[in-house]
């Protein structure tokens, strides 16, 4: 059944983020990742995350339900990370509350929260980028904008294109093996056998399809010349350049201020 891809796939749309050129979005993704990286204080990290969420909802026209569906698993992993960090890191600062005989302090818990939220934020930014950027546009942009050889850019793009097909293929293989009466084995050895029996048909099918794809591409002159024409390229325009410069300035200023100890992004004893 045809669908619009998984959570990790581009979804066509008409939002301002969809219309924005890929390089500007790439710059945005990197800028917010750097901001998240450089922040260890809970409220600051929350602010970065909030800005990213607002961008997703306002400019990416994401629905809350879709965003939750795309990030809940990662979100739970981050919460687990926060809990473990809160228990294991040395206590620092005033006690916030006690649980199971452990004192949770503002600085330690805040630090754990900021680190967990940072991981979530970086994942969130990546999801926004992937879901609003056509792989082909991205391949074209990095070829033209960053001068990456188009053969390399296209191999990345083709790999992205193949992900949903492989996901469908895997679901069919699971179903087919279920019909053969194959149960899921338990234990590490059993799990490895399950994996082998699943991966072998997937690998064989993928190799066959990859062979056809390569022949199809070559018979249409792919790779014949060092360069190629790109039609309907979503090139970086003035708006994109302005946004990229603004984001670059923000990151530079932020790190300079941090470096000069004018603002603090981490808890100080």
């Amino acid at each position: 059944m045809a669908h619009d891809g998984s959570f990790l796939q581009y979804r066509s749309g008409n939002s301002p983020l969809h219309k924005l050129d890929p390089l500007t979005k790439l710059a945005g993704m990197l800028a917010f990742s750097f901001l998240a990286f450089g922040t260890y204080i809970a409220w600051m990290q929350s602010l970065v995350t909030l800005v990213v969420l607002l961008i997703a909802f306002i400019f990416g026209r994401f629905r809350v339900r879709d965003l939750i569906a795309a990030t809940w698993f990662f979100g739970i992993a981050c919460v687990g990370f926060i809990v473990i960090q809160s228990f294991t890191l040395p206590s620092s600062g005033p006690v916030l509350f006690r649980l199971f005989g452990h004192s949770f302090t503002t600085n330690t818990t805040g630090y754990a929260y900021a680190v967990g939220l940072r991981i979530y934020t970086i994942y969130l930014v990546s999801i926004i980028f992937i879901r609003t950027t056509s792989p082909r546009d991205l391949a074209v942009s990095i070829t033209e904008g960053l001068k990456v050889p188009y053969r390399i850019a296209y191999s990345f793009f083709v790999a992205m294109r193949m992900i949903p097909l492989m996901q469908e293929e895997m679901a069919v293989i699971r179903a087919a093996q279920q019909v053969r009466g194959m149960g899921r084995r338990k234990g590490i050895r059993g799990q490895l056998q399950n994996l082998r029996q699943l991966m072998l048909p997937l690998l064989v099918r993928s190799m066959r399809e990859a062979g056809t794809l390569v022949h199809s591409m070559e018979s249409r002159a792919f790779g014949a010349f060092p360069t190629r024409t790109f039609t309907d390229v979503n090139r970086m325009k003035t708006k994109g350049k302005a946004i990229t410069l603004a984001l670059l300035a923000l990151v530079v200023v932020w790190y300079v201020l941090v470096g000069l100890n004018i603002i603090h992004t981490q808890y100080i004893q």
Partner: protein, 594 residues
């Protein structure tokens, strides 16, 4: 009347193969051996051959993929439009030879339709304005302008194959090479693709080299047939001449009308191929014949009427997600024990979803699917799999073992058969499926036809009462296809097994099934005797199905011979009312169609 349609006067060879032999790197076996062939500009050549005969290798020789991209030992010369492929890079040949493969999903590179069509031209560094103009022309030629902006994943199989064709046509090739381009398509998609190819050949003088097994749909288009056997060209000539030489040989498709004429005539007549020619053939014969006015045409496996149905579906409704449209809309039907039942309908009609609900790959709502009166929701998945077999469309998906022997033995072992029983049943199935000598081979290393036979064997070996087969004959050559269907019919008739066939092959449906269910957009349009399906032109139109040629011949015949039984849909049924012993009538006549 002539049976050979030559669209163009031969001008000059556009394809020249001179003593070509080829073996793949690392293999001593010559896939092609000493092949010499010329194809004239404007020809429409149909390449026939069983699985492993070298058809795909032949195709890849024509656009230079061999030897430039696929290494191996190539002897002899291949000239395309005067250029030696050995010395001409693939990209230069790309503007002369367009290549279309079987599976559209595996050959589409891009996400958006227009990007896919532009792909080849962009690689050749054509000017952006030229690219846009050529893309527009190609889309217009194929009538797919409305697909601009669409995601290829959202297209039907026929639409995807047209996009691939447009991408190739935009490069303005002189030759189109198509390797089974309709294998994955429903009857409507197949017709669309063949119509387009025929149009390109007729109106744009594009030479077509088509590798196909479906010969019936092509009789009006093809002016030359090449038969490849074991890597050599064994027959080459006008279709009538080639088909006449195939008389009495098994393992190759003939147009059904030609096959009919061969059964009634042993002389080397000019054989009919089209429906009209078949009609003329029968009209001339009928003047001398008697036929049974009330023929008994209950074919192959008669349904065993039992008090309870083997399978009953009641008001089954299904959707993959609450926000998505219904795939099945409250459908109900019953299937009795014994017989071969067909489920037909165009792609997306809900056939595969239905099959998956029946074997509990998907869970049907409680109280909607009953097997031997038991609600299958109350059976474990293992219980269901021991009673219902399901042969997937792609054999590779179902393989779980490293050798053919173990693959067949797998189901027996997990169901607790003794090793002696396992060996006996496995050996028997190896023989039945014609897989002798392959016991220790990896299932994935088998040919397409062998993989298909193995996958069917793995399901038949457990003797399940109900076996669902999703396009079981795709990739099989006619002799293996016939043998498989005969085996299924035998199991149905002698042991009361029920075979549920999901297929797009209407000839298969007409020849082998007694009961047909027609699905359309999740609803049952028809549930009854197979022969009735082909009497109802409205139904056929609505469900986008086509009649087999014999049914078309008989339909036309009833306007000429009003009392001729009009519900004949297969050759076997025709023989029942017109026994083959009347052939002497034909042998005295050679002017059936004049």
């Amino acid at each position: 009347m002539t049976t050979i349609t030559t669209h163009y006067t031969s001008t000059q060879p556009i394809v020249e193969l001179d003593r070509v032999s080829f073996s793949y790197l690392g293999s001593d076996r010559e896939v092609l051996q000493n092949v010499s062939l010329t194809i004239d500009s404007g020809d429409f050549v149909l390449v026939l051959g069983s699985s492993g005969s070298g058809k795909s290798t032949f195709a890849m020789l024509l656009n230079g993929l061999i030897p430039h991209s696929i290494p191996g030992q190539l002897d002899g010369t291949v000239k395309i439009d005067g250029l030696l492929t050995m010395k001409t890079p693939v990209h230069e040949l790309a503007t002369r030879v367009g290549m279309v493969f079987q599976d559209p999903d595996a050959q589409i590179v891009n996400v958006l339709v227009q990007d896919e069509i532009n792909f080849g031209m962009e690689n050749l560094r054509w000017d952006e304005n030229v690219i846009k103009m050529k893309a527009k022309q190609a889309m217009s030629q194929l009538g797919i302008e409305h697909l601009v902006g669409r995601n290829v994943m959202s297209l039907s199989g026929g639409q995807k194959q047209k996009v691939v064709l447009a991408s190739v046509l935009a490069l303005e090739p002189k030759i189109l090479v198509l390797d089974e381009p309709t294998a994955n398509l429903d009857p409507l998609g197949t017709k669309e693709v063949f119509d387009v190819i025929g149009h390109l050949n007729h109106e744009h003088n594009i030479t077509v080299v088509l590798i196909e097994n479906r010969v019936d749909e092509l009789v009006d288009l093809v002016n030359r047939v090449v038969l490849l056997e074991n890597g050599t060209i064994s027959l080459n000539g006008p279709p009538g001449e080639v088909y006449r030489k195939l008389r009495g040989r098994t393992g190759l498709w003939l147009p059904q009308v030609t096959e009919m004429a061969m059964r009634y005539s042993s002389e080397t007549l000019q054989l009919p191929m089209t429906v009209q020619e078949g009609c003329d053939f029968l009209v001339n014969g009928i003047n001398h014949l008697q036929w049974q006015l009330k023929p008994e045409i209950d074919q192959q496996a008669s349904i065993l009427k039992t008090s309870e149905p083997l399978l009953e579906v009641k008001n089954l409704q299904f959707q993959y997600h609450i926000k998505l449209p219904l795939v099945l809309k409250k459908i109900s039907f019953k299937i009795e024990s014994g017989g071969i039942v067909a489920i037909v309908g165009q792609n997306g009609s809900g056939k595969t979803t239905l099959a998956r609900l029946l074997v509990r790959i998907l869970n049907p709502p409680v109280g909607t699917v009953f097997l031997n009166t038991q609600d299958i929701r109350h059976l474990s998945v293992k219980d269901v799999s021991s009673q219902i077999g399901y042969v997937f469309q792609n054999p590779d998906h179902q393989f779980v073992s490293d050798t053919v022997y173990d693959e067949l033995a797998y189901s027996l072992r997990i169901h607790g058969f003794s090793e002696a029983e396992v060996e006996e049943k496995t050996r028997e199935m190896i023989l039945r499926m014609d897989l002798q000598g392959k016991e220790q081979t990896s299932p994935f290393s088998l040919s397409v036809g062998e993989r298909r036979r193995l996958s069917v064997g793995t399901m038949l070996i457990l003797n399940q009462k109900l076996v669902i087969l999703d396009e079981p004959t795709i990739g099989l050559d006619p002799s293996h296809s016939h043998a498989l269907m005969a085996l299924l019919a035998q199991l149905a008739k002698e042991f009361g097994h029920t075979m549920l066939l999901i297929t797009h092959d209407m000839r298969l449906v007409a020849d082998w099934t007694s009961h047909t269910i027609v699905l359309n957009q999740g609803e049952i349009l028809f549930d009854g005797e197979t022969r009735e399906v082909f009497q109802d032109s409205m139904l056929l139109r609505e469900a986008h199905l086509t009649e087999p040629p014999i049914a078309k011949v008989v339909h036309r015949l009833r306007y000429i011979v009003p009392d001729f039984p009009h519900d004949i849909v297969s050759l076997a049924q025709l023989e029942r009312i017109m026994p083959l012993n009347v052939q002497s009538m034909y042998e005295r006549r050679t002017d059936y169609g004049s």
